[in-house]
Each structure stands twice: as C-alpha cells, then as structure tokens.
Symmetry: C2
Subunit: 224 residues, 2 copies
C-alpha cells in the first residue's frame, strides 16, 4: 500500500452552509469559531474528513452534529483549495449546502452550539473564504429552486401558497406576482391542496398544501 507515497497528503475538511427560512427571510446558520486559528471570528460550521468516511458522510455527520437532524437535503457546492485559505495550516475544504425547516431545529441545540440565524443580506465578514462559499452556494441554490422541488425543504410539510411564494422571493431577492405564481403552482399536480386550513397567518385562513413526492416522481416537471 505505497502507491502514492511520494506525494504529500493534506487535511480535508467540510463546511456546511445551512439555509433556513424565517420571518420571510432567507438565513444562514453561523457562529463564532471556537478553535484556533481564528477563534472568535464568525464562521460556518465544519469538520474534518476522517480517513474512513466519504466526504458526503463527513458533511452529513457534521450536519447531524450541529442540527440533530438526519436525512437533510444536502448538496455539494465545491472544493476550496487556495494554499493560504486557512490561516493555520494547509486545509482543502469542501463546501456543502443544506436546506432545513427552521422550526425543526431545536433552539436549545442551537444555543449549545453557539450558532445563529443570520439574514443572507446581512452577513458579517466570515472566517477564511466562507463568504465566498455562501455566495456560491446561493447562486447554485437560486438556479436549482427554479427547476427542482427544493423550496419545500425550507418549509413545514404543510404550508400555504403565500409561504411558498415568500420562500421563492426570499431566495431570489425579488418579489413575484401572486396570481402568476399561483397559476404556475396549479399546473403542478404534485403540489396538493389539503382540506386543512391555516389560521395562524390570517383571519380568513389559508388552504394548506403539501408536496407529494410520489406524484412528482411519476412526472417530475417542476417549473417556477
């Protein structure tokens, strides 16, 4: 087992960009870095890739340890590998983004980890190249939300059309026309109206909808 021994090894880490939707805003979970170098700086949450785990597993483990949640929607953003990106050592990092429903996230756990939801339009300067990671993640996500049913990951399983619209608007940073939006929703049979009414958001009450993945899989035509 010495095939590549003339080459040097490096540390590889994962950084997770966790997007959440709250108060009609798209937010990211960041915290103060609790280790050197860079202790105290705003930072994404991350971890090192172990010798016996895949990079996807490392990212899923990192996500789990921060949120307590399994099976989150998660996609790779890319590898970041400037020589000096980490002020301490040479570390190559692979960024992943994840979408979670803020309500699923235990507040206690959040505080224990010392992380906070910060609006994407309001991010501070972050450790290393983490701002760049978030920018790239956002840009990928903006593309994706138009053609893949991922908006639902940011909402409870039952949601109103206005909520869905607000997610879409928050991600893209611009408002859309209510009637045109709903017209498009009506064409997607996998966004099912339920009998349930949400009374929290208005006096009149709004119909609750649900994403039906079975129907989606039969005819995966998503277009917003």
């Amino acid at each position: 087992m010495n095939y590549y021994s003339e080459h040097s090894k490096v540390w590889v880490s994962v950084d997770v960009i966790i997007f959440g939707f709250d108060e009609n805003k798209l937010k990211v979970l960041i915290g103060r870095r609790q280790m050197d170098p860079g202790r105290g700086e705003w930072s994404l949450y991350g971890g090192f890739v172990g010798a016996d785990e895949s990079i996807d597993d490392a990212a899923a483990r990192t996500l789990k340890s921060l949120t307590g949640l399994n099976h989150l929607y998660m996609r790779q953003v890319g590898a970041f590998g400037s020589v000096d990106r980490d002020p301490g050592e040479r570390v190559i990092s692979i960024a992943y983004y994840s979408l979670i429903n803020v309500k699923d996230y235990d507040e206690r756990l959040r505080r224990d980890h010392g992380v906070e939801w910060i609006e994407i339009d309001n991010l501070p300067k972050l450790y290393s190249d983490h701002n760049k990671m978030i920018e790239q993640a956002l840009s990928i996500m903006r593309q994706k939300i138009k053609t893949q049913p991922i908006s639902f990951q940011l909402l409870p399983s039952l949601f109103t059309l206005t909520q869905l619209q607000r997610v879409y608007e928050a991600v893209n940073g611009e408002e859309v026309d209510k009637r045109n939006f709903r017209k498009r929703i009506k064409e997607m049979d996998f966004i099912e109206k339920t009998e349930l009414i949400d009374k929290k958001s208005s006096k009149r009450g709004a119909a609750l909808y649900r994403f039906n993945r079975k129907i989606y899989n039969e005819d995966p035509n998503f277009k917003l």
Copy 2:
C-alpha cells in the same frame, strides 16, 4: 503549527476532463492509465495536489503538462470522495473540465502521452469514478453553454456560423433549426462577422466570425 494534528490527512488529486470538438462530435481526451493501481485501464488524466499549490493551480499544471497549452478555459466540476473510489489508497479527487480547440493540440504531444479523443457517446468504462466525473462535467457544461460564451473555446478564433451551430448541437446532442439559430446569433453584437471567407467547408464559402470579448464585457447578454 499543530492546530489540526489530531485529524488525519489524505491524498488529494485533480482529474481533468478535456473536451474537444472534432468531426462535428464532442470528444474527451482519455488514455490508458500508466501507473498502478489500475494500470492499463481507460482513464482521465490527473495529478496530485502539491503541498504548496492551490487546487486550481494543480489542475492548470496538469492541463499544461498534458496539452502544452496555457490559459485554457477551465472550471471545477466538484470533489469526489468515496472512501473506496481509488482501488489503491484513499484519495479524494477534484474534477475540472476544460475546453480546447483540437487543432491547437500538438498531435505529437498527444501521442507521447498516449491519450486519444473519444466521442462522448462512445466512452468505454473508465477507471474509478471517472465516468461519473465526465457525466457531471457534461451536465454542467450543457447548462453553461446556453448562457455563457464558452462555445468559442472549442473552435478556432475565426469560425463559421455552421461550425458554431455544430458545436452547440454536439454538446446538447440534438439538432437545432439553422434559421432560428442564426437569428439569435445576429442579436449578439459580440459575435462579429469578419470580411474573411472560409472556403474549406463549402464551394460557395462561408463568412468567418469572431468572438469580441471587449464588446461582450460591455453588455454580457449571451443566450442560445
């Protein structure tokens, strides 16, 4: 400098997917692997990331060593990190794709490296996860070619509209209407008609065009 010493290091490599356009087909440069493990298997060309070079630099160096060409168009595809992806050791690899004009590539150099242009529709089973890398690269490139002026990277600096159309068709794997295609080209002022005529492809001769990056930068609206 012992910040991360409790964590393990891994080898990181880069693999380059070099796309070329020839005989109206999109092709990829692959060769027989000349080292163990996997000696003799069809494989992408790759290299290890050095301790003191960025991953982008490693990819550019690898590209240069294979093609002799600098400043090639090159973009990251992503990181591939299954534990067992390499049969010999744990190696995380970062894939990049590049677009080159086949005519710029010295045939001698190609033969010296033992690599060949193979049609993307006709690829053999490749070493490790290299087929997956190519698939992903293609999918990214297909998106990109619709909204970014990258088709030109696969052509000589002077090209006919038919050539440009064939590139587009080869990448997307489907034919498009000649008149509609040309209508869209006419709307992009940065695709300039020159006085020159190409007589190689037809008796009548076809006007040669050129991509003007200055004009493009002033009004970067590319849409095919």
